[in-house]
Symmetry: C2
Subunit: 289 residues, 2 copies
């Protein structure tokens, strides 16, 4: 089974459990809608890749951890798109969850997916419970306060908004969780993997800023020009597109250089480079080559 199949299978297991028994059907449908079909599944693929590079024996359990990361991501998108935040009508090329199911079910779907993330991990590591304290704490730190996704969103309600702090919490935290949880799920030490997550999170945010300035809604499946419209910090707006692309490339190189010694280090380095290039519009890569 390749990585994406492991991840989709873990997400399918979680969604099926959430829809079991007497689950309210419309909420179950909203959850499924929020999860499938996915975007690029960048964070869970990073998590699983780190786990594999660390020599994980049980890729099913690692995929559950990767799926938990993706569930938190899907939850944050469902809430982020709500009228009281971005009021985004579309996401991944289709109506956002609240546009399709209403605000109430979008709030509840997000809540339920946060819970599903922790439940999936508890289930997958039942036979290795000593891994649960660091795993639960790693994904909790990425999702909540004081420095996870909720914190990142919370900075938007502050009068002063510092770009790096905001983006580290809103985007970077889940990349850090992906690399650290990937290592932990393989039974390795998580701490040395923080730097890779931090670097890739920052690189990804800059790529996202660039796409918001330089792409079309058709190419990225969501509205563009939102950062300027909403007055949000953006590296592409602050630096200009060309310098932002150069920064992205530097950050990616540094992230790759930070990969700790492990059985699959060379393979992982190649994977990370391929992935980073995939997220940018082709014409930008050519321009900055």
């Amino acid at each position: 089974m390749d990585a994406i199949m492991h991840i989709e299978s873990a997400l399918e297991t979680a969604a099926a459990l959430a829809a079991s028994d007497d689950a309210p059907p419309r909420l179950a449908a909203a959850i499924r809608y929020a999860i499938f079909p996915g975007g690029a599944r960048i964070r869970p693929r990073l998590c699983l890749a780190v786990s594999a590079a660390c020599g994980a024996q049980n890729l099913g359990a690692s995929a559950a951890a990767a799926g938990a990361i993706e569930l938190l991501h899907c939850a944050s998108l469902a809430h982020d798109d709500l009228p009281c935040f971005d009021d985004a009508p579309t996401r991944r090329g289709k109506p956002s969850v609240h546009a399709a199911f209403g605000e109430a079910l979008a709030v509840l779907a997000g809540d339920a997916m946060i819970v599903m993330a922790f439940e999936a991990i508890a289930r997958a590591f039942m036979d290795r419970p000593h891994l649960l304290p660091p795993l639960v704490q790693t994904i909790a730190r990425a999702a909540g306060m004081p420095s996870g996704i909720a914190a990142g969103q919370g900075y938007e309600s502050e009068p002063q908004l510092a770009r790096s702090q905001y983006q580290r919490a809103k985007t970077g935290s889940l990349f850090v969780a992906a690399t650290v949880a990937g290592a932990l799920a393989a039974g390795a030490d998580g701490a040395p993997w923080r730097m890779l997550g931090e670097g890739l999170g920052e690189a990804y945010q800059i790529a996202d800023d660039i796409r918001d300035v330089a792409s079309s809604p058709e190419a990225i499946g969501k509205p563009v020009g939102r950062d300027a419209a909403l007055g949000r910090p953006s590296a592409a707006l602050e630096l200009g597109v060309d310098r932002a692309v150069a920064l992205l490339k530097r950050l990616t190189r540094e992230a790759v250089d930070s990969i700790p010694a492990c059985p699959g280090a060379d393979w992982l380095k190649a994977q990370v480079l391929i992935e980073t290039l995939r997220v940018l519009p082709e014409e930008l890569l050519r321009r900055a080559a």
Copy 2:
């Protein structure tokens, strides 16, 4: 330290951690506002009482589990009061979280408190990780889908709403989590404690229905008459107040009779009876005596 001090201390630890480092101050304030001052803390006190009755050695860890139950409750209230659900202006005698901090911070505070619940448990049981799989699964089941608080709220978006199913998920699930997690935290088997939680959850919901019909906003710190106004299922509306009070008393007796053999069974039975009587307006107790 008595029970309520243990619980407040666990909640204080969680709130302080959420507000640490560079946490966005307004979100940290919204979280604190949602947790303190508490209501009757019925669910965490039940959790801690069961733990004590089971002979728990480490009441601090049990209090963390109890605090997690309360955090999930506070999260559900913050989201439940949102304009897209009940649109409640007040809660516990003060403005609701969204009325005081706005919708965005109320959504995020709820999200963060769900995460804090799992984090608190992972931290408290780091030295007994074998207890984490059942504990995480117990509180996940109570909070999410297919039969937890989110599911209970989700039933409100279904065309047909069956009272018992709805209330079992929306209210009963957290009472079941309180009794089961209390036993688990003491190292005991959780399953025999489900029935106590189910019975008390149902009794509490009926008491709540009765108060919504027969109390004043001043007495219970939130608006009354909401069930009728919102067309929600209510035992007091369906049966009339006197028969609802009689049902409440019968359910409480049955719940008490279900308490499994444990070192503190007699003490726990007395506690449960005292607690149940506390939640009803005095004149109703006299009327139905």
